[in-house]
């Protein structure tokens, strides 16, 4: 098992109970959708994975390591095993496409020749060949998200985590991004994705976890969830 949640609850300092007794397991190579209404706790659950937030109760294991008991100094290595894709892309505006991707490798201390080889490779993979020297401001939303994905997979993560990656994109562009994610998943990367887009989830036939008020209400591995 790659990811294990045992009775995880999260109460924010302001008293909001965002997650309530969540237990779940995710296997290597899975593609998992997290769904549920606004405020259900999807983003909170995702933040637990890379320890941006710590659970109030319960245990989380990723690749058999306890994320909860992890020391501060161990967090970087946890995060290096993951790639994160954001709804608002979070690209550095002052860096080109290539530089944004290279940045992710530089900050984890990759060697120069590795960076030189890998950056064109992932840019190619996400279909941005020819846009290497463009700045984020010169790209469409879909293209920017491709840069975000390229950056997330540059370090060959075990898990790709995406919080509403298509939230700011139209349907056609969303489908293109999804095709990209499916192809990454086919190459073996586990993907966990929070989304509101029912059409995408319906068409995908992947595992879906429905959250509501911080609890799992359905966990359907066929993907034929009732809308």
């Amino acid at each position: 098992m790659l990811v294990q949640f045992y009775n995880v609850s999260k109460i924010y300092p302001n008293g909001v109970k965002a997650l309530d007794d969540i237990s779940l397991k995710i296997d290597r190579g899975e593609f998992l959708f997290l769904m549920g209404p606004s405020g259900a706790g999807k983003s909170t659950l995702i933040k637990m994975l890379f320890r941006e937030e710590k659970p109030t109760r319960g245990q989380i294991f990723i690749a058999s390591r306890s994320v909860v008991r992890m020391k501060r100094s161990e967090i970087p290595s946890l995060r290096r095993s993951m790639g994160i894709v954001f709804q608002d892309f979070k690209l550095l505006e002052s860096k080109t496409v290539s530089e944004n991707v290279a940045f992710a490798m530089e900050v984890v201390g990759a060697r120069n020749h590795e960076i030189k080889n890998r950056v064109p490779e992932v840019i190619n993979m996400v279909g941005l060949k020819g846009k290497e020297d463009a700045f984020p401001g010169q790209l469409s939303g879909g293209e920017q998200q491709r840069v975000g994905i390229a950056r997330a997979i540059a370090n060959q993560p075990l898990i790709l985590i995406a919080d509403e990656p298509t939230g700011n994109l139209d349907i056609d562009t969303s489908n293109e991004i999804m095709d990209l994610l499916y192809s990454i998943n086919r190459k073996g990367t586990t993907i966990i994705m929070a989304t509101h887009a029912r059409e995408i989830v319906k068409a995908a036939h992947k595992r879906v976890i429905m959250l509501e008020k911080g609890r799992i209400i359905t966990d359907d591995s066929s993907g034929d969830y009732a809308l």
């Binding site: 100094s73 995060r79 290096r80 994160i84 979070k90 550095l92 900050v107 984890v108 201390g109 060697r111």
Partner: protein, 294 residues
């Protein structure tokens, strides 16, 4: 730390400095003004302290002999005085010399003292300097107890007050320098905090990608060091030029003896440079940790 990383950190620091030109300029100006004021304060203190040292070392004890003391007795008194711990120098002033000194201080033309006074009324005396001027009152008391010493003077009262004044001048200037250094750290910390704040998204992203705290901190430390030492360098140039021209101009005004020893000044300038770097590092240290808590 690997060489490759050091180069990366320096490059990142330089990039950030170039990217935020206005902030860079503001921080360097702040640093240089702070360090300039600090340098001026230290120079004033150094000069004041030299002046006070001179005043203090001018303090001496004069021990007057009884009128009918024989030559051998006078010589043995000298030995007894020399044996007192803390005495540096004992100089004999004969009654004739004393009279001549008095004559000189009155002016030669008006009176001829030797003629006016048939007999020299002045006693033989010793002028005594101490190793530490602060021991003067204590040592004076002990000399007074020696046989054949008629009286001892050392500007009682005035000396004590002088020491009181110099003590306070030193305390106040140390306090002021401390205050200025504190202000400089605060200002540099604030400007570096702004630089970090401008890049908080980048730092957040770096944290989420898995950069270590050290990796994120280093460019900012280098940035702080560059800002601090650059500011210090500017202030040192200004200070050196200003002080040099002051020395030239003050040459005619001999009453204020300025420190001109190049060694002392060099030490001061190097200390200011190190202070600049130190302020830069400290400013960064104060500012950055808050942004690393992701």
């Amino acid at each position: 730390m690997r060489m490759r990383n050091i180069i990366y950190f320096i490059k990142e620091a330089m990039k950030s400095l170039r990217r935020n030109t206005l902030l860079t300029f503001a921080t360097i100006s702040t640093a240089s003004i702070c360090i300039l004021i600090l340098g001026i304060a230290v120079l004033i203190t150094m000069n004041a302290s030299q002046f006070m040292n001179k005043l203090e070392s001018d303090v001496e004890i004069i021990a007057y002999m009884e009128k009918d003391t024989s030559g051998t007795q006078i010589a043995s008194i000298k030995d007894s005085i020399k044996n007192i711990a803390g005495v540096k120098e004992v100089k004999f002033v004969s009654c004739e010399e004393a009279l001549e000194n008095l004559q000189e201080s009155l002016g030669k033309d008006k009176y001829d003292l030797k003629e006016t006074l048939e007999k020299n009324p002045l006693p033989d005396s010793y002028q005594i300097k101490t190793v530490n001027p602060h021991d003067v009152p204590e040592i004076a008391k002990r000399i007074e107890l020696l046989a054949n010493v008629k009286a001892v003077t050392y500007g009682k009262g005035i000396v004590e007050r002088l020491f009181e004044v110099t003590k306070w001048v030193r305390l106040v200037s140390i306090f002021l320098i401390g205050l200025l250094a504190f202000g400089a750290i605060f200002l540099i910390a604030t400007t570096i905090r702004l630089a970090i704040y401008a890049r908080r998204k980048e730092i957040y992203l770096m944290k989420l990608i898995g950069a270590t705290d050290g990796f994120i901190r280093w460019p900012f430390f280098i940035e702080g060091i560059i800002l601090g030492s650059f500011g210090a360098a500017i202030s040192i140039v200004v200070l050196a030029l200003g002080y040099q021209s002051l020395i030239v101009r003050m040459d005619s005004l001999f009453f204020l003896p300025l420190i001109t020893g190049q060694d002392a000044l060099l030490v001061l300038y190097i200390s200011l440079l190190i202070t600049g770097m130190f302020l830069g590092v400290l400013g960064t240290l104060i500012s950055i940790n808050r942004f690393l808590d992701v």
